[in-house]
């Protein structure tokens, strides 16, 4: 029983790491731009596809094993670095003045377009590239075999992302500017902050994180049409539960969801699917603005 619980916790941590990597970019974007980006799932999927393509190419080169992991990061930077600015400048920047619902729907439209583009580019056959998992090998816990990728690398990257983001947002000037815009957009712009630049930067950064989430998932999962769709809803739940733009909240929520899910798989598999929503409803019942959210000022 104790061992079982311990195993459930290990699984939960690994899953939480994946959930966090998907949701953190969305949280960041929402915090600054106040846009709930439905296309986030598409960035996740495209990041995964590009990582698999790059990884397959890297496997043919002389440096094959050494390139396996860097290829994941490269894919994320490529996808985020290209798609992020292009979409922000060409499309999103035109609708910042419009209603929230229009902003949300624009990303819904992007999601529909990107979904078909993925299909036309990579086809419908499941694609995968598991070199990164094989490079890192296996670990035994008791008599249960885990992959090191799942047990060490995923949680490690998630933790590094969290700490890196906290450092970036608290200690660097750009980061503080982003926080300032998250906290009070009007005051920040009144103080001379170039909101456009902050938006561009944040959206690009958030896109890189989404693509990184996809790239990190690609060695363990198969990329199929619709793989992004499932991610969207899950990361939405994380963002709302965490509170707007709350990075630490996203981590805590991801942990709750990850652990809740794995405990459910062990003890009540029927409930696994609804765990994220139950957690969300429960949290919002107690804290109407999310775990780390604060009520906005009531303005007359």
């Amino acid at each position: 029983m104790t061992l079982l619980l311990f195993l459930a916790i290990l699984d939960g941590l690994a899953y939480a790491a994946q959930v966090f990597m998907v949701a953190v970019g969305l949280t960041l974007i929402f915090g600054v731009l106040r846009i709930l980006n439905v296309a986030h799932g598409s960035f996740f999927a495209i990041g995964g596809y590009v990582a698999a393509t790059l990884g397959t190419w890297a496997a043919t080169t002389a440096l094959a094993p050494a390139l396996a992991l860097p290829a994941l990061l490269l894919a994320a930077v490529l996808v985020g670095g290209v798609l992020g600015p292009v979409i922000e400048r060409l499309i999103l920047s035109r609708i910042y003045v419009k209603e929230h619902v229009l902003q949300l729907l624009v990303t819904f439209a992007l999601f529909m377009i990107l979904e078909d583009i993925q299909k036309l580019t990579w086809g419908v056959q499941p694609i995968f590239q598991d070199a990164p998992v094989r490079v890192l090998g296996q670990v035994e816990v008791g008599d249960i075999i885990y992959t090191a990728y799942q047990l060490y690398l995923l949680p490690g990257v998630a933790l590094a992302t969290l700490l890196g983001l906290m450092w970036f947002l608290r200690r660097t000037l750009t980061g503080r500017v982003i926080v300032a815009v998250t906290e009070d957009r009007e005051a920040a712009t009144a103080m001379g902050i170039d909101a456009n630049r902050v938006y561009l930067l944040t959206f690009t950064f958030g896109t890189v994180l989404a693509a990184l989430g996809g790239a990190l998932a690609s060695p363990t999962t198969s990329l199929v049409p619709g793989v992004g769709v499932n991610m969207i809803v899950l990361s939405f739940a994380v963002v709302a539960t965490a509170g707007l733009g709350q990075i630490e909240g996203a981590m805590l929520t991801a942990l709750l969801i990850g652990l809740g899910r794995s405990v459910a798989v062990y003890f009540a598999p029927e409930f696994e699917v609804v765990i994220p929503y139950l957690i969300m409803v429960a949290v919002l019942l107690v804290r109407p603005h999310g775990l780390f959210g604060r009520p906005e000022l009531r303005r007359v």
């Binding site: 929402f30 709930l36 439905v38 499309i91 035109r94 609708i95 419009k98 209603e99 929230h100 619902v101 229009l102 949300l104 729907l105 624009v106 819904f108 439209a109 992007l110 999601f111 529909m112 377009i113 979904e115 078909d116 583009i117 299909k119 036309l120 769709v229 809803v233 939405f236 739940a237 963002v239 709302a240 707007l244 029927e270 699917v273 609804v274 929503y277 139950l278 969300m280 409803v281 919002l284 019942l285 109407p288 603005h289 999310g290 009531r298 303005r299 007359v300």
Partner: protein
């Protein structure tokens, strides 16, 4: 009804009937579109208050499954459809009491959460719902008459149009009423509403329950038209579709939802026929263009083209 609405409403109804007469398959497509239009009318009410529900497919599914579950015991459509609307109302009230306290993303996401939990239930309670295989609905009688397929389809379409006209008129009356006028205040400055002694929560709750009832009715019509219901009805992409239609049609008029729904279905059919592998992309592009260049939707375009010109002439 306002003359500026009545004319296009009846002209549109005549056009729909004419098109359906010339191409029989359109009867089905238009009936589905009108049913979705009912649900979108509810979305429109919430949009007036600045709130987006990303979960209204829940009520469509509640209505549709109400019909599917009661059909073995109740054979009459004139009973089934009110039951569907009532089920939507009850579930809408229960959920609404909870979600009406929330705004913006929390409102949207909680709706999404409830619809996804319901979707999971429909799949999980396999014994009762047959999961994704869905439930077959035997064709009900209409006012005691057991109609043949063609007559049944015509009755559904004409009935759908009549409902759309009647409920469209009611919706416009509601929006003009003091309660309806309070909705935009939630969007701009909710606090002012409270200072005026009006409970924003109650206003939103009323709009929410109405929207749930409309979606439940729409779901009932969908079930009576397709005669087969599946859990996919409540999936979140279908909720997104409703918001899509609301924006496509335009929020400026109660006719927008029906206009949007019919155009949406037609674009989807023809896009899928022309590009079977890329119809989603075409729908997305249409939505993108509408938002970027005609944010008031198709109704806005119509107003610009016809009404202004008409006034000048």
């Amino acid at each position: 009804m306002d003359r500026r609405l009545a004319l296009p409403a009846f002209a549109g109804a005549a056009l729909v009937i004419a098109l359906a007469a010339s191409a029989p398959w359109l009867k089905f497509v238009f009936t589905i579109a009108l049913a979705k239009g009912l649900a979108v009318t509810g979305i429109l009410l919430l949009l007036r208050a600045g709130q987006v529900s990303f979960g209204h497919a829940l009520y469509i599914a509640v209505g549709a499954y109400t019909v599917a579950f009661t059909r073995p015991h109740v054979g009459e459509m004139l009973l089934l459809l009110p039951l569907a609307a009532a089920a939507g109302t009850i579930v809408g009230l229960a959920v609404g009491l909870f979600v009406a306290r929330y705004r913006d993303i929390f409102f949207g996401m909680l709706n999404l959460a409830f619809s996804m939990v319901f979707y999971s239930l429909l799949e999980k309670l396999y014994e009762y719902t047959k999961g994704t295989d869905g439930i077959r609905v035997a064709r009900p009688t209409i006012a005691g008459m057991a109609l043949e397929r063609v007559d049944y389809e015509w009755t559904m379409l004409i009935g759908g149009i009549a409902l759309a006209l009647a409920l469209g008129w009611l919706a416009s009356r509601f929006l003009a009423s003091p309660l309806g006028q309070a909705l935009p205040a939630i969007k701009t400055r909710e606090t002012r509403l409270e200072f005026a002694g009006i409970s924003a929560k109650r206003v939103l709750l009323v709009a929410y329950v109405i929207s749930a009832a409309l979606a439940g009715l729409g779901g009932g019509i969908i079930a009576c038209t397709t005669l087969h219901v599946t859990p996919l009805l409540s999936y979140w992409t279908h909720s997104g579709e409703l918001v899509f239609i609301a924006i496509l049609g335009g929020g400026g008029s109660v006719l927008g939802p029906y206009l949007g729904a019919i155009v949406y279905e037609l674009v989807r059919v023809y896009a899928a026929a022309a590009f079977p592998d890329g119809w989603q992309m075409i729908l997305g592009a249409v939505l993108l263009l509408i938002i970027l260049f005609a944010a008031r939707g198709l109704w806005g375009i119509y107003e610009d083209l016809v009404l202004r010109k008409g006034r000048r002439a």
